[in-house]
Symmetry: D2
Subunit: 319 residues, 4 copies
Amino acid sequence: MKKIAVLTTGGDAPGMNTAIRSVVRYGISQKLEVAGVFRGWWGLINEELKILNHRSVSGIISQGGTILKTARCAEFRTREGMERAYETVKKNNIDGLVVIGGNGSFSAALEFGKKFNLPCVGIAASIDNDINGIDATIGTDTAVNTALDAIDKIRDTATSMERIFVVEVMGRASGFIALTVALAGGCEDVIIPERKFDLNLVCHDIVHGNLIGKMSWIIVIAEGAGQAEDIARQVTEMTGLETRTVVLGHVQRGGRPTAFSRGLALNLGKAAVDRLLEGKTGIALGMIAGRIGEVDFETAIQNKALDADSFYQLNKILT
Amino acid sequence: MKKIAVLTTGGDAPGMNTAIRSVVRYGISQKLEVAGVFRGWWGLINEELKILNHRSVSGIISQGGTILKTARCAEFRTREGMERAYETVKKNNIDGLVVIGGNGSFSAALEFGKKFNLPCVGIAASIDNDINGIDATIGTDTAVNTALDAIDKIRDTATSMERIFVVEVMGRASGFIALTVALAGGCEDVIIPERKFDLNLVCHDIVHGNLIGKMSWIIVIAEGAGQAEDIARQVTEMTGLETRTVVLGHVQRGGRPTAFSRGLALNLGKAAVDRLLEGKTGIALGMIAGRIGEVDFETAIQNKALDADSFYQLNKILT
Amino acid sequence: MKKIAVLTTGGDAPGMNTAIRSVVRYGISQKLEVAGVFRGWWGLINEELKILNHRSVSGIISQGGTILKTARCAEFRTREGMERAYETVKKNNIDGLVVIGGNGSFSAALEFGKKFNLPCVGIAASIDNDINGIDATIGTDTAVNTALDAIDKIRDTATSMERIFVVEVMGRASGFIALTVALAGGCEDVIIPERKFDLNLVCHDIVHGNLIGKMSWIIVIAEGAGQAEDIARQVTEMTGLETRTVVLGHVQRGGRPTAFSRGLALNLGKAAVDRLLEGKTGIALGMIAGRIGEVDFETAIQNKALDADSFYQLNKILT
Amino acid sequence: MKKIAVLTTGGDAPGMNTAIRSVVRYGISQKLEVAGVFRGWWGLINEELKILNHRSVSGIISQGGTILKTARCAEFRTREGMERAYETVKKNNIDGLVVIGGNGSFSAALEFGKKFNLPCVGIAASIDNDINGIDATIGTDTAVNTALDAIDKIRDTATSMERIFVVEVMGRASGFIALTVALAGGCEDVIIPERKFDLNLVCHDIVHGNLIGKMSWIIVIAEGAGQAEDIARQVTEMTGLETRTVVLGHVQRGGRPTAFSRGLALNLGKAAVDRLLEGKTGIALGMIAGRIGEVDFETAIQNKALDADSFYQLNKILT
């Protein structure tokens, strides 16, 4: 293996740049040439790539986003798209691919790698932390801290104005951010896709709380479990109390990565290069049981279970 | 003057607690008794107040929100409500009132003070910075920095995914936060209530920008000038490009006050007590031309003009 | 078991308050009475404690420091001190003790628990992350992020003024913070107690770097490995280049705990109560291999090894 | 005027990059060519400069430090140095100079501009806020917030461990940061160069405070008024109480500029170009009485007075 390429696909996550820095510099230290592909699979199809050197990745260790950009690319799911992408691979003598991204990225890499017998190693980067078999992905810790910072601020107003807030956080299929933030923020309730939720019960608690002097509530909802606006309207209808909503949205994707997101990204970048050099393919790397570990792409793209009930129960006890 | 009361009304703003601390401790140093009224005018009507001492305000200098809570109170706008409130004033021997809040608060204080000949001094606290005659109010600097922090984060994704973002910030009648944040965040455009806006022109710029390689845009909109969702939809219709929206919302109200919000709050708290002791009434205090200054309530509650055009032009030149 | 007591000892760490909240509220949910002891062992000796209820721990989830205060207490290491402390235990019908702290705290708890046959469970809280057998303690993640934030800021000046900085971080016996921050901050070198360090080599690198245009360096040093001032002086002597020093110091102890520090604290609080109810004693709880786990006090207080060499090598490759 | 040059000199301050962006982009909008000079006066002497375009300053609005770098340059204070610098000016057809920096920078610009009849306009950028006649300089607001953030964190430990802290902040000739931070941080005392200080009195207060239960203190000291270590030692000698010190140091110079530092920088950049085009020279620009204003260099470099006494008195009352 003499030359590898690295790309970022799917939604951006804080720490992707940090991982790119590691793949490039560690790769070079292992005598590899490292090409950066722009805009994910689109860049492979359209041959938008360039050789990166030590200087190319200077100063990006602390920057959110990805200097390689990221994009969705429907064309890559077609046979023709894949073939054009592979043309680029051949033409540029690329011997292996590091794919930084989430489920969608790994699913595409799995197919692409098999079809053309090209070694592909994935680095789990997704703010949702929704890669099956992996405990922690690049970006989640940063996103969770960003959301928590917002929750702490909202708490000031919730307490001062004695209001009920419904706060929507990211997580289309996963309640990880919602649960984590609700617990760390002392939020009174949390609604996630993985768990049935009885709004009547919550409203009963709110009315009861009001009687004994608990006037402010924060309910966190994962975007995949409904819309803040809907929940807020229903709570007002059931309780007669005023509600406010906040949708944190894309703010959660950006910003300087935390120490954890950076450390993980740097170690995963090294590990991905090592795995390619060892001849491995079809695996996604992430933190597993407190260490750098791997799962095969087939496992990674399955639905990830979440121990939602015990998490939820603890939160109810603590608030 | 032997005893004064302090209350916070309207939307909460970071630094209100800091101002309360100053009114209480400086008041005590001037041999005054200081009562804290809970939930604004409602607390005056319902006689919810208590004497605050040095310890009562320990540790709140750095906390967002208001320990006195705040509430809207329709009843206070009725003759009966005002009379009940004045009952509390008389019964508790309150000789003067410090009202921490915004336009609505000062309008109510103006009427109440005149009707019952009660000395009332206002402290300008409003994240919108919309008090006429006053350059800076408590909380604005904090809110602006919170919004700017979010914009910086959104920029990471806007650049990485090459997207157009429409970001809605607070400001019902005022574009101050929007203009300030757009300028400081290098945002490509800004829509505010004080200035006509031609979306066609913006879309033309966007399309032109795309042709020459400028792929990401952030458009800031003040809530009073429209909804992010609407603008985003129109931009997509006109340009055919994908857009994303973020509504920053109540996050802007909370959080640890910045050094500026705290320093202003501490100085205004002292000034308010001094003005009451000097026999003044019917005035609002804030930063004017770089110093602590005052305007009468009648002036304060007028519409505040904003030099939107020159601000806007500078921003267009710099982005 | 009907009544337990909780105390914090040793240096404070962000998340101690969060852990207290969990011990108290979860304890109450398990039908226990929970007493808070003030100033660590000193409070046990001097019978400074009080029953805490749900409200006692309101609002502290996000606050640095410890509402129970912490202190060093030489007297507790004497037989007389221990006996007086046990008097308090007996008199107050305390059936078990939750000790939130680090090595020193666990060493004392081990002796105290054995001597009087009192169930004692420890919660690992220490910014240094130096508890043997435990991967992550409460407070470390927050301290590391605080230090990293400072490093990022120092980088601005190091780059702008093309200077060499020596930055001293906490860690008397442990280089954990130093290594983690150096890696995540892209710092050019790091000096820790666990690893021999050749300053000549670093100075050689610096001089060589200067020749090829690398003008700024950040060297991180753990306090236990020497003083920033000394290193800086030696670097100047050997290279003839100007150096600057920063000693981050106690800033690293405070501040709002991060999401990770809070989540860990909440889970450890619950786990400590559960362990006491299960009849366990003499164990310290922390994160082990990505899960809540335990080690016995004897193990916890041993020196903790650190895989310093591989960490160090990766850092050298990546900078 | 067809071509101007911009340089940054002296200590770096957050917002210098933001000002460079404004000078460049606004200059270009006024049909000027704008050259960036590297490493301050040194770059003028050594002809290290290059033409900057719109893209050259992309993305720096939010970055601390200065992309033009900054350096001290003894040679520029010699006749020969100035003449060599002027050679560069002539050779490159530079018609005017924008000097971003502090007192030293303006003093040099005053001499240089007069000697060679070259229009020079200064932009006040200094974290110390020590430019006479100017109320606010670029960078101060950011530095103050950084220091305040540290103070808030130190407060957690001071309270938890009941300790006396002496915290040294920047300010060689100016107590501005110290006073501002002490007030906003609720610090019990503050020592600055502009005001005599009686340590006996403070120690008396501390001992008295201890008797009535006030166990923690934070004393802020400006670097120009002494060393934290000395003060701490003396306090311990006089009171018998343990003390801790923190020297915040260069951390205060870096980081993302605040909204205020950015807004000021952008407006000053524009104003500097406008003033050059109006034919002005020998003036420094900054915020004066809440607006962009100017003072001549001769005034700017005088010692700046500070209303230290009233400031100090207010702080003593409020803590």
